[in-house]
Amino acid sequence: MNLPRAHANPLIGLSSTLLALAVSLLATVVLLVVFGSHPLSALRSFFVGPFSSPLAWGNTLNQSSLLVLTGLAASVAFGAGAFNLGGEGQVYLGGLAALAAALFLPPVWGALGILAALVSGMVAGAGLGAVSGALKARWQADELITTFLLSASVVPVVDSLITSPLFGAAGSFLITSRKIPQEFWLPGLLAPSNLHWGALLTLPLAVVFGVLVNSTPWGYRLRLLGRNRAFAQYTGLSMASYSLLPLGLSGALHGLAGALGVLGTQHALVQGFSSGWGWNGIAVALIARTNPWAVVPAALLFTFLDQASRMVVLQGQFPFQLSALFQAAILFFITAQIVRRRS
């Protein structure tokens, strides 16, 4: 698979991405105008909706911070030449690990307990990613397949555990676990939106990764691995540890996203709460061309487009499948290399 590579002239790379975004935006606007019964109010819902109230703002910020995390996770893996398609399962498993920690640690632990839960999430996600890494190192198993299959098999397992006596909530009509003790709740912001303090963690994390990947020897080696694996091996990089590392790290970031989702928003593990976070993270990584610095604006942009289309659907003029259609159109245009590379 050819990942979009950063062009030698960054302006051409940037204009190619912007052009793709502009075209997809145009396509959605056309859809809205042609198929909506009230085009102007549909357009208003689209462009203004995600910022129209604290609720909308909060949800937009929350979602973009989660996408920053999963976008970073995908970037780290792809930038090192490892195709992590298991984001969904890694996020979900991370959520479960955080839930377990939050439900079984004594509530008196307070902030330490929150930390422990977040770490458990990261460890669980890292473990899942590292399994694929180990399979790759030992048997050259294609991680494209192993990450995806492992993740797909983890999801139903977690689903069944949610309502099991161990985690389940008696008397709920939803498929959800019971709520975690209040001491472990991440305090909310901009209520009644989904935003919470944990979401603010992701921006500094993006900065850390930006520096790590672009300005350290370790980051240099990781990027070299993604550019030309044979060359990286030739310079002496240990293929065993560098098969494990990108996938483990990617999994850890995914797991952290899941943990934050559980601790911050629902304060429980609701079935399917993280559905789409992994795949959207990949979309964000593609928009950002796997550069951590570009992940934040890419996540914001993607979230805006997603929330905007959801606003329009909620406004009642379109069936709910349309928001998925919008997202697909955006992704389609982004991954097509529109500006011809001048070699």
Binding site: A8, P217, Y220, L224, N228, Q233, Y234
Partner: protein, 489 residues
């Protein structure tokens, strides 16, 4: 000659092309006519613009100004009968050679049987015997070149362009290919252009010779009106003194060998200051040896010692720590990261040093690059992508990187493949310099002539085994040729 066939098949009219990446004017107002029935040799050193000019002729690049006018009036393309066989033909790794060859043929896609018979017939006239079921990624550049050439002949062609067609061929195969090209040209009143830097080839096979330098066409002449010296001075106007081979002192035999293979199929002992050259015909074992000596493949038998340590099963990182440097034959696939910047390509062993406090400073990286560039006369800016450099300059960069920290052992595999005269001389100078500084140097090359020029000792590999290493003074071209072919007295 048919009464109505045109005398001029194509006219290149004041073509110019500049690449945005580095602002270099690759082709500068070049005008040239291609006659029917002629073989044209296009000479020039690396970076002279030959490849770009041919890409413009074949319609693969669009000129910034000027035009390519064909006798048929069509725009230049394969459909118009112009085929360019590149030195490294592009390919899809998962396809087999026959699938690669029939891709893009007009009309219905032929089934495997039909395709194979078409291809085998076409290949037979060129004297090629190819394994058509081999996957492209396993086939190697030579097989790909042959397959691509065979494939082009399934189209009606008027102009055939060959970019360094004999670079990867042995002398006999090269003659055979060029003879077939000439025969084809004569029979069909077509035209063939072959790009080369082998001056003797151009004198022997071409009807006309065109010389390019720095993007301009500086001369067109015929072999009758020219000579090796004349061509050489057209290519390199400054006076090139014939290189006097300064003989390097042979190291004392009492010194311990710094690189040694024992009990293998190719045992040798190498000491600091020596340049050992090993050569073989294609497929006789040099490729495997390259991987075995550099930690990329396991030694099937025997042991390897580096600086006194047994490194038979050592990792690549361990080998490098012990002082091994290696310039691989596969420059783009293994020796570099083609889409990364030049600076990124030279720093892999320096990153820790260039990152005090853990942060890689871009000005240190650039500074290191400039310093390296000065010492080794490298071209290009640190931020430029490697693919924008010519083949010769890429190799210089790789060699510079590997020689930089004065390695104990330096292994070079096919180091001058695709390099022009000037670049080769520069390379040999660097190698001798490194030997004088104490490195032990091992060159694996399929050009015996080159080894005679550079090395202190030369050995021959045949059927995977080393047949005997002798001091270079004890070899002649004939002896070497006989040893390679297995004709022993």
């Amino acid at each position: 000659m048919a009464p109505n066939s045109p005398a001029v098949l194509a006219s290149l009219v004041r073509l110019s092309k500049t690449f945005a990446d580095n602002g270099v004017r690759a082709v500068d107002e070049v005008s040239l006519e291609l006659q029917a029935g002629e073989v044209l040799a296009l000479l020039g050193e690396n970076g002279a613009g030959k490849t770009t000019l041919m890409a413009l002729l074949a319609g693969l690049e669009v000129p910034d100004s000027g035009e390519v006018v064909l006798a048929s009036g069509q725009p230049p393309s394969l459909k118009a009968g112009i085929a360019l066989v590149q030195q490294h033909p592009p390919f899809a790794p998962e396809l087999t050679l026959w699938e690669h060859a029939v891709l893009g043929l007009p009309g219905r896609f032929p089934g495997k049987k039909a395709a194979r018979s078409l291809l085998e017939a076409s290949a037979a006239r060129w004297g090629f015997a190819l394994n058509w079921d081999e996957l492209c990624r396993d086939a190697g550049p030579l097989a790909l070149q042959k397959a691509t050439l065979t494939a082009f002949f399934l189209h009606p062609l008027t102009i055939l362009i060959l970019d360094e067609p004999t670079a990867a061929l042995g002398p006999a195969e090269a003659r055979s290919l060029l003879a077939s090209v000439r025969a084809w040209v004569r029979e069909n009143h077509a035209c063939a252009v072959f790009v080369t830097h082998k001056l003797h080839e151009s004198l022997e096979w071409a009807d006309r010779v065109a010389v390019m330098r720095a993007g301009r066409l500086v001369a067109t002449t015929t072999p009758a009106d020219s000579s090796l010296e004349a061509l050489s001075s057209l290519l390199f106007p400054r006076r090139q003194q014939p290189q006097v081979q300064e003989s390097l002192p042979a190291p004392a035999a009492s010194l311990p060998p710094v690189f040694m293979a024992q009990g293998t199929r190719a045992d040798f002992e190498l000491r600091g200051g020596e340049i050992l050259g090993l050569t073989s015909l294609r497929g006789e074992g040099a490729e495997e040896l390259e991987e075995e000596l550099t930690g990329l493949a396991d030694l099937p038998e025997g042991r390897l010692f580096l600086a006194g340590t047994d490194v038979t099963t050592a990792s690549i990182a361990a080998l490098r720590r012990l002082g091994l440097s290696y310039v691989p034959s596969d420059r783009m696939g293994r020796g570099s990261s083609p889409y990364s910047a030049l600076a990124s390509n030279v720093i892999p062993y320096q990153v820790t040093r260039l990152a005090p406090g853990g942060i890689l400073r871009s000005h240190s990286v650039r500074g290191y690059f400039r310093e390296l560039a000065k010492r080794f006369s490298l071209q290009g800016e640190p931020g430029q992508r490697l693919v924008t450099l010519s083949g010769g300059n890429i190799q210089k960069l790789i060699v510079a990187r590997e020689m930089d920290h004065g390695p104990k052992v330096l292994i070079l595999a096919e180091p001058s493949w695709g390099l022009d005269l000037e670049a080769r001389r520069e390379l040999y100078r660097l190698i001798r310099q490194a030997a004088r500084a104490g490195s032990a140097i091992l060159i694996l090359s399929s050009e015996p002539q080159e080894l005679l020029e550079v090395c202190t000792r030369v050995g021959v590999l045949r059927e995977g085994r080393l047949q005997g290493i002798r001091l270079v003074e004890h070899w002649t071209s004939e002896l070497l040729g006989r040893e390679l072919l297995g004709v022993v007295n």
